[in-house]
């Protein structure tokens, strides 16, 4: 109904680079720089635990030093008499909390919850906490807490002989055709095992919170990927109404899956704050970040591929195992890429989980798809060499023209285009096929390729959009920005819809008092929230134009127009006749201080309970294969490695990736996220490994000097090429997921390149030098 055009006022300085074509930076799809950038580069951005709160006390955790057994006794006397100590918390004096609903919405058992353990199931479990006037006093006193244990034997990891085969997870079973028989009958067969170690999210901002009670109302400043979900957990723990808990998380210093839930340390801090009647700050130490919540589970897969002599797959038989904790359940879906990447008439995938003495594992960038792709994308590379065809050609030869599992057409699948664009930019056609056939001095050069994918996770969202008296626009949502660019793309969305410059849009995120939002995870936020903001902004614009046309005090009242144009914050007739006024002038003349519109994409008949469930659990999320289509993002990575022939050191020297995330709401920021995923994948391939001390069942490299993540010196230039097209089946504005996609397939691309360089196939990550010499 309304024409809008943000192009006329701003000059070329706001234009994106040539790759944008005609899209200006401020519109959806433009390369607007981060609107929260100035706060982040000047130090003005206040992260959750940086709030300056009067009367703050400081809590420090005490952790178990055994992996299995019982706490026999805790001697708190020395700690209690240490200077400044306000409280020493143990299970003996802890408040009785309720067990909370889990993220799936499963009703909790009616048993009390204590975040401090008496029964020890992993090393690093919280057993006590000390609260003191100052951080230094709390640290010193925590070291005085003496814990005595009755230790029992731990199952330290998947390789422990006591670990066993684990528990079959029937919901992970996927089968069609007769995979075993077809594999047995196939002329070409390969079968190998692929392992990934424990890996950790390691966001630069450690987890922590400030908890403050006012009566039965709790405010929690905590970095969060899911304010409403975490608020529900706190509310249920403490038996207060959901509305009584306010989560505040204006900036998040990285999450990568690890900041979506309220964890035990949060319960400890909130409990201490309640007991002391004053605010408590608790930030887990860097070593504690390895056990206060779970990283990616260690995984084991076997992949058997049966093919004909031309390399066409006849059968895939896949078996997977991931570790979980003794008393918690985490399933890392290892067959998720295996079942959709290639066309096969026969398929079987099954998965077990094995209980070991670890913290319950959790989500780390592309949970499931990441290790799954390491298996299948390594295996198909092995098949390419077995039948003697190019690794890129074998992928095209087995291209899945529809979802082989769901038997539905893809909504969009620009994977062929990703292979083509990546291969062209990389120069793949110049690759010598034989391993060890390319070298530069003592460096063996290898070129590898692998594909990746991630499902489009969809959910309902809501947003509040206001047009204020000064003509500016305000967007509110309890969703968050942990670096993906939410502040920026929502400003672009509202600016484009209402017809104002993006600089006149203020986006407010990270406060659970704002319009509700579901989890920021699984690459769903951008699609959900641009849709919700688009709807709310459209409703606000409709109100604005309606006022301008119908209000007797409006300068447009006499015009008898049935529509008006809003552009650059000014309102005019589409024919150019009649007046032209600013939004502020119009609101002034009709006597309105603001226009407000809530937009939500929930089904129209949704109840309040439906909405609560939608925003505090993932029970209402929409399947990526719902309806007529199967929806996924896709990518192809081309990697060059240089391996020192004498020392076995691997350097990634070049990466070119073609990626299909559908329409990009802001290519500048999407490219950054893709590259970030690729870089995390380089670290995963070559560096990252949680090392278990098998005597004590303990992660020994629980710090950033020993748990190696990629540094600047490890990373070459990376070229990312967008090959996506708008996908209306995936989101309101045509985008698919961005954040998880980039990492999927990087590790196998590197492993495949290392094989091409050296002739050695490394099937367990990371690819360290001792595996090559």
């Amino acid at each position: 109904m309304t024409v809008h055009d943000v192009r006329s006022r701003h000059g070329d300085s706001k234009r994106g680079d040539a790759s944008d074509g005609a899209i200006f930076a401020e519109a959806v799809g433009g390369r607007l720089s981060r609107v929260d950038g100035p706060a982040k580069i000047t130090g003005a951005a206040k992260y959750a635990v940086e709030q300056q709160i009067d009367g703050l006390s400081h809590a420090v955790l005490v952790e178990s030093t055994i992996a299995a057994g019982k706490v026999r006794s805790i001697d708190t006397a020395a700690a209690e008499s240490a200077p400044g100590v306000l409280l020493v918390l143990t299970p003996d004096n802890a408040l009785r909390l309720n067990t909370a609903t889990d993220w799936l919405g499963t009703p909790p058992p009616d048993i009390p919850y204590c975040p401090l353990a008496g029964d020890i199931t992993f090393s690093g479990q919280h057993v006590a906490a000390v609260v003191a006037e100052s951080f230094e006093q709390a640290v010193a006193a925590a070291a005085l807490v003496k814990v005595a244990y009755d230790e029992t034997t731990a199952i330290v990891d998947l390789d422990d002989p006591k670990a066993g085969d684990g528990i079959p997870i029937d919901t992970m079973t996927k089968e069609w055709g007769d995979a075993q028989a077809a594999f047995a009958a196939a002329p070409v067969r390969i079968c190998a095992a692929y392992n990934t170690p424990r890996e950790y999210q390691a966001p630069m901002e450690p987890h922590g919170l400030i908890a403050k009670w006012q009566g039965d109302r709790l405010t929690v400043w905590e970095p969060s990927q899911w304010l409403d979900g975490m608020a529900r957990t706190y509310a249920e723990w403490f038996g207060v109404p959901f509305e009584n808990v306010r989560l505040v998380s204006p900036f998040i210093g990285g999450g990568f899956g690890s900041k979506a839930f309220a964890y035990g340390y949060g319960a400890v801090a909130a409990m201490a704050a309640k007991m002391l009647g004053r605010p408590v700050k608790l930030v887990v130490t860097r070593p504690q970040t390895f056990t206060a919540y779970g990283g990616r589970a260690a995984t084991r897969q076997t992949v058997a591929l049966g093919a004909n002599a031309e390399g066409r797959i006849q059968s895939i038989v896949h078996r997977g195992v991931n570790e979980t904790s003794v008393d918690g359940m985490w399933v890392e879906p290892l067959g998720s890429v295996t079942s959709i990447m290639y066309a096969t008439p026969n398929f079987s995938s099954r998965q077990n989980v094995v209980r070991v003495n670890t913290v319950v594992p959790g989500a780390l960038r592309a949970p499931g798809e990441n290790p799954s792709a390491f298996g299948i994308e390594s295996a198909i590379d092995e098949l390419a060499y077995e039948v003697g065809i190019d690794p890129l050609e074998i992928r095209l030869r087995n291209y899945a023209e529809q979802d082989p599992e769901a038997k539905k057409p893809w909504s969009t699948r620009q994977l062929r285009e990703a292979f083509a664009a990546g291969a062209e930019a990389f120069g793949w056609s110049k690759r010598a096929p034989e391993p060890r056939s390319m070298r530069d001095g003592n460096q063996l050069i290898g070129w590898g390729v692998a594909a990746g994918t991630y499902p489009v996770r969809r959910a309902y969202g809501e947003a509040m959009v206001r047009i204020l008296a000064d003509g500016s626009v305000e967007v509110e949502s309890s969703s968050i920005d942990m670096g993906q660019g939410t502040y920026t793309i929502l400003a672009q969305t509202a600016a484009e819809v209402v017809g104002v410059p993006a600089e006149d849009v203020v986006v407010k995120l990270g406060d659970s008092r704002y319009a509700r939002a579901g989890v920021t995870g699984g690459s769903r936020l951008a699609g959900v929230m641009t849709g919700a903001v688009h709807k709310a902004a459209t409703a606000a614009l409709d109100q604005l134009v309606g006022l301008a046309i119908s209000d007797p005090n409006s300068p447009f009242h006499a015009l008898q127009a049935n529509t008006l144009v809003v552009a650059n914050g000014r309102i005019a007739s589409p024919r150019g006749d009649g007046p032209e006024v600013s939004i502020a002038e119009l609101l002034g003349s009709v006597g309105r201080s603001q226009i407000e519109a809530m937009g939500d994409t929930m089904p129209a008949n949704s109840t309040a309970d439906d909405r609560y469930k939608n925003y505090t659990t993932i029970a209402t999320a929409l399947s990526h294969t719902e309806g007529d289509y199967s929806r996924h993002s896709w990518c192809a990575h081309f990697v060059e490695v240089r391996v020192d022939e004498d020392f076995g050191t691997v350097r990634v020297s070049r990466v070119v990736s073609g990626l299909d995330s559908g329409r990009l709401y802001n290519p500048k920021l999407a490219e950054s996220q893709w590259k970030g995923g690729i870089i995390m994948g380089i670290g995963q391939a070559l560096l990252e490994e949680g090392i278990v001390d098998r005597r004590h069942g303990r992660i020994v490299n629980n710090n950033l000097a020993d748990y190696l993540i990629a540094t600047n010196a490890d990373i070459p230039d990376i070229e990312v090429i967008s090959v996506g097209i708008p996908d209306p089946q995936s989101s309101a504005l045509g985008g698919k997921g961005v954040g998880e996609l980039g990492i999927v397939g990087v590790a196998p691309a590197i492993a495949n390149a290392v094989f091409h360089a050296t002739g050695k196939r490394v099937r367990d990550l990371p690819i360290t030098l001792e595996k090559l010499i």
Binding site: G37, A39, G43, E50, P203, M204, K675, A705, N712
Partner: protein, 167 residues
Amino acid sequence: MTSKTRIPIQLQINGHRHELKVEPRVTLLDALRDHLGLTGTKKGCDQGQCGACTVHIDGQRVLACLTLAAQAEGRAITSIEGLADGDGTLHAVQAAFLEQDAFQCGYCTPGQIMSAVACIREGHAGSDDEIREYMAGNLCRCGAYPHIVAAVRQAALEIASSMETAS
């Protein structure tokens, strides 16, 4: 807390003198963040491994988590809050970080920027490889490294050309 456990110190931060009484064991990082409200300097590991707490002391890049506040007494401390001009004009490195999208979550960013300013001043921004090496002490888990290199390269050129103009 009894007063005898605390010592008075004076810190010169971003051109301003601050007087505070802290325990001798308080790090410069905690003094900045918890005692002075200067939270732009970040705590990523508190054990000298990540670089998020990088500040300048007498123009040298230093890890504030491995420096006691008392050690910095009488020396000129610059934190991220003091890098832009008084009128708000961004330092060339800050502007380049924004333009090149050299950050995502922003948590390592103040440390990256402080390191980058020093890296350029040290004469270690002569090539992309040199920048990668001399910026390798600042971890970025979002993986902004290629853009950080581009930003440091851009800022180094701008600073060099403005110094030429000035001379």
